[in-house]
Every structure is written in C-alpha cells, then in structure tokens.
Symmetry: C2
Amino acid sequence: MDIKEYMQTVGRQARAASRRLTMATTAEKNAALMHIASAIRREKAALVAANQLDLDAARANGLEPAMLDRLTLSEKGVESMAEGVEQVAKLPDPVGEIRDIKFRPSGIQVGKMRAPLGVIGIIYEARPNVTADAAALCLKSGNAAILRGGSEAINSNRAIAALVQEGLQAAGLPAECVQVINTTDRAAVGELITMREFVDVIVPRGGKGLIARLLAEARVPMIQHLDGNCHVYIETDADPAKALKIVENAKTQRYGTCNTAESLLIDRSIAAAQLPAIAAMLTGKGVELRGCAETCALVPNAVAASDEDYYTEFLAPIISVKVVGGFDEAVAHINQYSSHHSEAIVTQDHSKAMRFLREVDSSSVMINASTRFADGFEYGLGAEIGISTDKIHARGPVGLEGLTSEKWIVLGDGHVRA
Amino acid sequence: MDIKEYMQTVGRQARAASRRLTMATTAEKNAALMHIASAIRREKAALVAANQLDLDAARANGLEPAMLDRLTLSEKGVESMAEGVEQVAKLPDPVGEIRDIKFRPSGIQVGKMRAPLGVIGIIYEARPNVTADAAALCLKSGNAAILRGGSEAINSNRAIAALVQEGLQAAGLPAECVQVINTTDRAAVGELITMREFVDVIVPRGGKGLIARLLAEARVPMIQHLDGNCHVYIETDADPAKALKIVENAKTQRYGTCNTAESLLIDRSIAAAQLPAIAAMLTGKGVELRGCAETCALVPNAVAASDEDYYTEFLAPIISVKVVGGFDEAVAHINQYSSHHSEAIVTQDHSKAMRFLREVDSSSVMINASTRFADGFEYGLGAEIGISTDKIHARGPVGLEGLTSEKWIVLGDGHVRA
C-alpha cells in the first residue's frame, strides 16, 4: 500500500464529502446520527467482540493496565457511546446561524454566517469510543472527518466506522463524510497533518507526547490541547470554608483529569491560619504536598518542591504549594508556570476577583469555583471535542461551535463601491 | 550580532510588555495612540528625510517603480499615517468585553471575556505606513507587537518606531510594547516565525511569495492572506442592469486590489442576451477577456482561457469568463477555482441567493453587491490588519476583534463539581 497515495485518496474523498455536508439539512444530519446510534446498539455484541481482538493483542503486547482500561469497550460502554451520539443529535445545529446583520453607510447590509470548517482530522489514542464521539460532533457541525485512532484499537475502530458509514448512507449522505484511516502505518499521520489542500484543521486527542510530535511536524492548523497545570490561588480575603472545599474538589475529586488542580498558591498573610487545615485535608486523602520553604515550615509532612514541580501536571495525588506575597506575585507565578488551561481564585474581594479574570492568561479563569468545572458539559456546550490551550480560534472546551467559523455575508441590491 | 540571541531578547521583552499591556486601561492605550499621532505630525520633515534615504538606496538598487511608489512616504502620507493612528484611538476597546454570562444547573455562572492574543509578529514589505498602522492596531487590542518591515524601508521604519516608542513611554507603557526588528538579516524572520514561546500569532502582510515562504517554515500560527481570485456570478434571474453595474465596479474600479473580481461566470440561458453588453463595457475600459469556447463565440475579441487562467489573480485589466450550465455548476466552479476570498452572485431569485451564501466556501459571500466591498472599513471594523483567507480564528477582514480571542470565565461562590 502506497501510504501517500492512499491518504491523498482519503483526503480527496473527504473534501468532496464535505461539500455535500455543507449543504446537508439539520434533519439529514440528525437522521444520520439517529441511524448511527441504533446501529451501534444493534451491533453491541459484534462491537464487544471486535474490541476483544484488540484487547487480546494488547495483552499479548504487554500494554499497561491503564492503557488496557482505556481500550476496553464493555456492553455498557457501547450503550453510552450510542447515547452520546443521540445527545449530539439533540444539540442545536450551529451551521447557517446568521448574526449581527447591520446596514452600512454605503447601503449594503453586512453580517456573519456560521459555516463548517470543512475537513477535520482527528488523531487519538486508545479509547475507541472517540471514534463515534468525534464522528458525531464533526457530522453535526457539517464537517467531514478523517479519524486516525491508535493502532491498538484498530479492530474496534473499523467496526464502529462501518456503523457510522451505514448510518450516513441510510440518511442519504456520502459514507466518506467519516473515514477511519485503515492502516496502522505511522506515515499516514505524517500525511494527514501536512495535506493542507484536503484538511482544514487537526484536533489531536491524546497525551503530551502525541501532541508535541504533531506540533513539530504539522502544516495543517491544529486545535491543540496541551497539559492542564491548573492553579487554585487562595487570596487574603478568601472565605476559609470555601477555600478548603474548592481545594478539596479541585485536587481530589479526580486525579487524572486535565482540569484537576496541580498547584496551590496561598497568601502569606493567611498561610499560617489556613494552610495547616488544607494540608491535613489533603494528607488525609493521601495527597503528597511539595512546597516552598514557608510551606514546609507550616506543614511538617510537606517535601521541598523543585522549580520543575511547579511546571508539572502530576495527574496523581501530588500537589505543589507556594506561599506568595500577594495578588501580583500570585498572578505572575500563574502566568509563568501554568499551562494556560484553568485557574481559580478564592476571594471575597471584588476588585481582586475582577483583576484575576482579566490578568490571568488562561483559557478558563474562575472566581470561587473549582477548576474541575472546566468542561464542555459543565459549560453547557452539550459535548466537547477537546479543551484547547491555544489562543487562536477556540480557547478552553471546544464544542460544535469550535468546529465552525464565521464567514461574512453582504446583502446588496445592485450596490457598488463608491 | 547573534541573530538568534537578539530575537530571543526581542521575544522575551515583547512577552513581558504584553503582560503589562493586558492590564492597560483603555485611557492609557488611547493616550499612547494620541501621543504617537502628534509625534508623527511633529516629525513630519524628519520622517520624509529618513524615507528619502530608503528611496535613494532603492533607486541605487534598481527597484521597480511600483515598489518605489509603495516605499514613498510623502508629507501627505505622514499626515494620513497620523490620522490613521487617531482613528484607532477612537475605536471601541475590545479587551475585557464580557458576553453571554449564564447560570448553569450546577449554580456557577459561565460566560466569555475577550482578551488580547499576547504577542503578534507582523511581517510586511515596502510600505512604511504599515509600521504605524500595525502598531496602533496591536496596541489598541492589548497586544505587544514585533514588526519586521522590508529591508528597503529600514530607515523609515526605524524613524517611525522611535516615535511609537516615545508615545508609549509618554503614556506610561513600556517601549517594548512595539519593537521594530533592527536588522535586515533574513534569519531574523526565521526566528520570529518559530519562537512559539514568545510569539502567539504571525500576521503577514505582503505578496504571495512572502506568504508561501512563511507558510512552509512557520511554527507559530499565522493569520494568512493568500490571493484574492474573486468571482461574480450572473445567475439566470439576475437584473441585467445590476449585473452590468456590479461587474463594472468589481472588475474596473481598481485593478490591483485583492477584492477585485478576476473571474466572471454567467448562466448559459442569459449569456447571449447579456454577455455582449458586459464584454463591450469591459473592452471599452481596456479589460482583456479570457473566456471559454462559448464566451469566445459570443464575444469576438475574447481570447481562449486556459485552465490556469481560472485559478489566476490577475491584478490587472484581465478577466476570465465562463458560461455555466446553472447554479450548481457555478458554485462547484467557484469552490474549485476560487482562493476563498470574496464572491458575489447577481440574482433576483431568493432561494438561489440564500443557497449561494451557504454553499460558497469563501470568507465573504455577497448577494447583488460588488466584491470591492470586502474591506474592513466598508464592513464597519474601523480598520483592518489584513484579510484572512484562512478558515480558523478569523475569516475575511480582520480588525481589532480578530487580534483578540475569548477566554471562559466562571463565577462561583464556593461552588464545587458534584
């Protein structure tokens, strides 16, 4: 198989399908989604069996338990996959939305219309449910999708893709609206991220290693999600009860998510009064504290933090802690060490709260709320394709709207420029 | 001079200045802009003299007359430069705009806040007025700017940059908010477009050659402007008088602009009735017609068009013409050959007009209006940094808003995720 030729064919087909999809009605797209959901339910046993092939191979290859866990598609997992697709069908269609039409002095009316991006390449790792999930979001937003899953999930992904294509055709849409790359050859990724003529944007869903590699090689724009080194900053005027509750939730509700707090900043003026109780709560839940000298003096079981610790997304029961000399130092620290994902301030001071929103350069900035809220469902997007830590196009949770852009529309009646 | 080290310094300074600029008030930014405008007016003679050095060198190097024209800064040019900066001061400040704050079932309020992108690199060619223009737009939108003008304008650009920095400092802002790269070494561009840690977006303003080169090498996201191969499509139900007027304006008002029509499509059913008059009007203005066989049969002085002609932005009194078999063929042709800049349909048929808006994949789509309207001033943006033919982030004319993005804000009162 000539990978370049194969990928060019996939790209050309995607481009052609995307032209048709741009014109698809909301009813057609929803019909396809509902067909896909029922096909997935109907083939529950077959999907679990295909997944079993992947699991057997993965075990034989000695994959880590965490990876096996992400790869596993249970009957329950199949059911939630079908439900996820149905939920996307229920979301409002962003395509064709017109806004802000205004008359200009020349007499023309000018405004904006929301349109699909075109062809979206999704590159992801073990989880096979991403295949259905990403296909549904791309389809609803009017984009053709080229999906490249992990090689360890190839059987699961092929089986899901066949059902997605069945649903598309049942609704009268081209099967090529969603294509799964049918080879595990890594060269296919190299082609996908460089064929600008066929692919409008790449959405990587995976670990840091994957994204760093794509970033180095991609010629197609990427909506990237790097790590989530999220901060909670307890300001002098924080309500201590709210602070404790927010740190607990932000750090300990789940350790492996990107919106989990990885670093705690606390003002010097309140550190002695509040840090020991917060540390006791964290220690009680098995969280290791890595702190500055002042932290270690206040919290005997804390260990000394390295500068590297403050840059680290632990994804584990570990938190870095720093006592800071006030608001400006806290914001400067966050802007320096953060991955620009999500940060929260705990304070009752209105001016500080408003300054935090403005001055912290992250995709989500929060007042008196847990960083764990940084999520497409919590924000009301209905679903998310990822969380962008980029600054251009879309920041933070990316839903259907983030998979579209706006073109200008001009309405005249024979108008010409003077 | 070690270019890499120099550019790292410029980048680090820009990043630091951008943190300060994010916090700058509208009053501070406007004060800086007004200072810059008066400094430019005050130094009119010195600016013209600096420009004379560039012009002398350019003539000695045998630059083309068109290039010399773009390079020239007259006293009148200096005055419009100052006025342009004042106009930017009068535009509303996009930074800090908050919208769509809504309560979510969890009790948090979620919305969006507009924020600067951070550091913007502008790469441009001969015109020295871009230095003041781009500096003003970046400053007003809260972004630090790194400006890299053409080497042929280095004396003019240095002189303008000194006045911009004077204005910044007079308003209490760091001079490093706007830096002009002080070397003509091309390696500086290579550094600028790859230092992701210091530069958030690159805006190239220049010809196709420049942009193609940047595109191949850039690691920083680009808001790119490729060529403008714009179409006017005269549909069966067009009003012939409007069609004639729109083609005349779109093609002949100015030949060298990116929103000039380069290609005319006309439905077969009306071609015999309308094309001869349109062709006579164009020929009367000295425009060469390059057409399909049917065009040549109807217009004796038309020459045969090659496939390449339909892809070409002539920027000259030349237009490609094609007789098409109806709406679908016209849209397919445009989506194939266009550079996705701006396209217009002339029609009285409402359904076709609405389909054109939706189905044509270009940054501006127009009904019964001249493509010449695709412009930041005509659209009411007040000013533009360029016209994006990209699909992500910003399409079409890019004003202050296009130099910002939105972050999510979450307002809680001790809320945690369930």
